[in-house]
């Protein structure tokens, strides 16, 4: 009686696939739902981030080669290839892109937001520029609310099975009496509860947060432009942020401790925690999984620079 742990289910799935000797699964191409480009689009929408960020996620995906069919497609039994967690991967890509554009060191993103706000004042044409501060406020509000609801749901969770289990005839009457008492008490106090909520129809959509541009309160950031935080250089738009910090300098090996990185033991900026918390809520997994994936992506992305072994190892110049 527990909520299944993501990792366990995932591993069981792989074991099962190998046991059944399943062949290579159908190729995952960029028109497939499981392709990072698609999933990034989905999560960008759900996280209420500007559509323009999708260009950036696609660029990262391409650069580190995780959009290739060979990388993505599941080959059961093949122990050498690292198994892809599609949603976690997509979320991690988005986190990396956010770090690229906003740095997320608890200072720069706010400065950039103020800067965009200034530019927004003179911005008459086209859509408003994206301001991190505004987005943060909106998302934090929703996230806290949803998290609170989820926590309450978890506290209200009923674990018992329909038929009570008992292991011996002696215990049978006791167990049945207990069950009877539980039912009676539930009825008694149920009547004293708040008026019963009508049974909520399960939402067919897999989106937990939804944002609509028709909403007049201006809470939807999909259409916002990134121009507020970009600059033109040699005819191309590049981020104003010149820096990047790595989550970890060295990746652990999975064999040693089961993880590639250690989320809990290091202090990261609050904004980074926040972003991880958002995706961890959406995906219903521990933030450390996303963090691990972020580390892997960063290492692939900055591979060349890392091989040079820089002296100051936390901040890199792009």
């Amino acid at each position: 009686q527990s909520w299944p742990v993501y990792e366990e289910v995932f591993n069981k799935m792989l074991e099962l696939a190998a046991f059944l000797e399943l062949p290579r699964f159908p190729d995952i191409t960029d028109s497939c739902f499981l392709h990072p480009d698609m999933l990034c689009m989905k999560y960008l929408m759900e996280a209420n981030l500007p559509d323009e960020l999708h260009n950036w996620t696609c660029r990262v995906v391409k650069k580190i080669g995780i959009g290739e069919a060979d990388f993505l497609t599941l080959m059961p039994g093949n122990k050498s290839t690292r198994k892809v967690k599609y949603d976690v991967l997509a979320a991690a890509v988005i986190v990396v892109v956010l770090k690229l554009l906003f740095l997320l060191d608890d200072r720069y993103e706010w400065f950039l937001s103020d800067f965009a706000e200034e530019r927004n004042k003179n911005n008459k044409e086209g859509g408003p520029y994206f301001e991190f501060k505004k987005w943060y406020k909106v998302i934090k509000c929703s996230l806290d609310e949803k998290q609170k609801k989820l926590d309450e749901e978890r506290a209200k969770y009923l674990w018992r099975c329909e038929k009570p289990l008992f292991y011996s005839a002696k215990k049978k009457s006791k167990v049945l009496k207990r069950r009877q008492m539980v039912v009676t008490l539930q009825n008694q106090f149920g009547k004293l509860s708040d008026s019963v909520r009508p049974a909520e129809k399960p939402n067919p959509s897999s989106f937990q947060l939804s944002w609509s541009e028709e909403n007049t309160d201006g809470n939807c950031f999909h259409g916002h432009s990134l121009r507020g935080i970009l600059q033109e250089k040699c005819g191309l738009l590049t981020p104003m942020n010149p820096d990047y910090w790595l989550c970890t300098v060295k990746l652990c090996t999975e064999k040693m401790c089961g993880h590639l990185a250690h989320y809990r033991e290091v202090e990261f900026p609050e904004s980074y925690h926040f972003v991880l918390r958002l995706f961890s809520f959406l995906l219903r997994i521990q933030p450390s999984y996303i963090h691990d994936e972020v580390c892997v992506i960063e290492h692939k992305l900055f591979n060349k620079k890392l091989c040079k072994k820089p002296k100051y190892n936390t901040v890199l110049r792009k």
């Binding site: 209200k156 539930q186 008694q188």
Partner: protein
């Protein structure tokens, strides 16, 4: 992994419990009830190793909710409690006892009595021995209710036309007496705080003329070192002795102990008055000590009677010019904090505004202890004379005349 399973279930139930507690603290009874419905299934899990197990938690929380919830009734409460009684045999008598308390608080005396009687007859192997304490309490409270019935019958007889010729009522009264006396006597033998039981038992004994037994009971209750220190025990003894016209000497010795335990007790005024009337020097000395000690406490600050006792005694001493050293002794430990505590300029104004008699008594004390030039005395004598109150003029003269006494006290 099964250990992890347990912790997940436990975590979820713990979270549920904290929601219940939050709701209760905020008096959101409906919400608390709602979460309780999700919590009750913990009864089906084995928590035997925990200190506080779900059945006890559910009993206590459920009772609270049913107590306060607007839609709940006594009937619901009773049915809930009956279920709780079947839940844990180890707690059976405790649940019965608390149920009885709840019924009493709601004025359902007869039901409470029935419950207690039923519980009294409960037997369950070795549990009966293990729950001996609760059993004694149940018997004691049942005895207390017998006393109530006795009292009712007694009043019927006293107020009825035929007086004590009403035989059936009288017999009933005596039978209640026997039942009550037996149980009450039992419980007060055990060291503890049993104020209501003692009072009722003594009342019974006095009515039937057994004064010796009553006195013995009260002495035990007050002086047996095995019993926890209890000021009320001494108060009851004092009241008994006073009722029976005991000597001043024994009354004083009882109140002396009360003064030692609770110097701020309300009986200290009576004590001081009694001591002042006595001719013995040591009692006079004690009277001064007692009244000064009482006025050390904030609750007495505005008590006119207390100040008048102190004023009277100080006046006497100053006029007789004997024992000024007594005042000096008492004042030495108080002179650095009583001025701010009792005789500030702010208090002078307030006392004058609110209570003229109080300010008069206090002014006299201040005038002698702090001298005629202290701000308290100056303000009040000025105000009093301005209002042309004769007693203040007399006071002013008195203090001026006896200023040397002040010099001797403060010096």
């Amino acid at each position: 992994s099964s250990h992890e399973h347990k912790t997940n279930f436990k975590k979820s139930k713990e979270a549920c419990l904290s929601y219940i507690q939050d709701a209760m603290l905020q008096k959101q009874w409906k919400r608390a009830a709602e979460f309780l419905t999700y919590y009750v299934e913990s009864l089906e899990k084995d928590f035997s190793r925990e200190r506080l197990n779900p059945s006890e938690i559910i009993w206590r929380i459920g009772s609270e909710i049913l107590c306060h919830h607007s839609a709940s009734s006594m009937k619901e409460f009773n049915s809930f409690i009956e279920q709780m009684k079947t839940l844990a045999v180890k707690r059976y008598l405790k649940v019965c006892l608390e149920h009885a308390f709840h019924l009493l608080c709601n004025g359902l005396i007869d039901e409470a009595y029935q419950n207690l009687s039923l519980a009294e007859s409960w037997r369950f192997g070795e549990q009966t021995l293990l729950q001996d304490k609760e059993m004694k309490l149940i018997q004691a409270y049942r005895g207390l209710l017998d006393y109530c019935s006795w009292s009712k019958q007694k009043n019927i007889l006293l107020h009825s036309q035929d007086g004590f010729d009403n035989l059936p009522v009288e017999q009933e009264m005596h039978s209640y007496f026997r039942k009550a006396a037996l149980s009450l006597k039992e419980i007060i033998r055990i060291p503890g705080v049993w104020d209501p039981f003692v009072k009722c038992y003594v009342d019974l004994l006095e009515f039937y003329g057994d004064h010796n037994e009553a006195r013995q009971v009260l002495n035990e209750y007050a002086y047996n070192s095995k019993f926890p220190a209890n000021p009320n025990a001494h108060v009851y003894l004092y009241q008994f002795l006073k009722r029976h016209g005991e000597s001043k000497k024994s009354l004083i010795s009882v109140l002396k102990i009360l003064h030692d335990i609770v110097p701020s007790h309300e009986l200290m005024i009576d004590f001081n008055t009694m001591l002042q009337k006595s001719k013995k020097r040591k009692n006079q000395r004690l009277a001064l000590e007692v009244i000064f000690a009482a006025l050390d406490y904030a609750g007495w600050k505005e008590n006119v009677k207390a100040w008048s006792c102190l004023a009277r005694q100080i006046k006497q001493i100053v006029i007789s010019e004997k024992h000024l050293d007594w005042i000096k002794q008492e004042w030495d430990t108080r002179k650095d904090w009583w001025p701010a505590f009792h005789f500030s300029r702010y208090l002078a104004k307030r006392n004058w505004q609110e209570n003229e008699s109080l300010s008069y008594e206090k002014a006299l004390v201040a005038g002698i202890l702090l001298g005629k030039d202290c701000k308290y005395f100056k303000y009040l004598s000025h105000q009093g004379c301005k209002a042309q109150l004769k007693k203040f003029r007399i006071l002013k003269k008195f203090v001026n005349k006896h200023n040397p006494a002040y010099l001797r006290i403060s010096g």
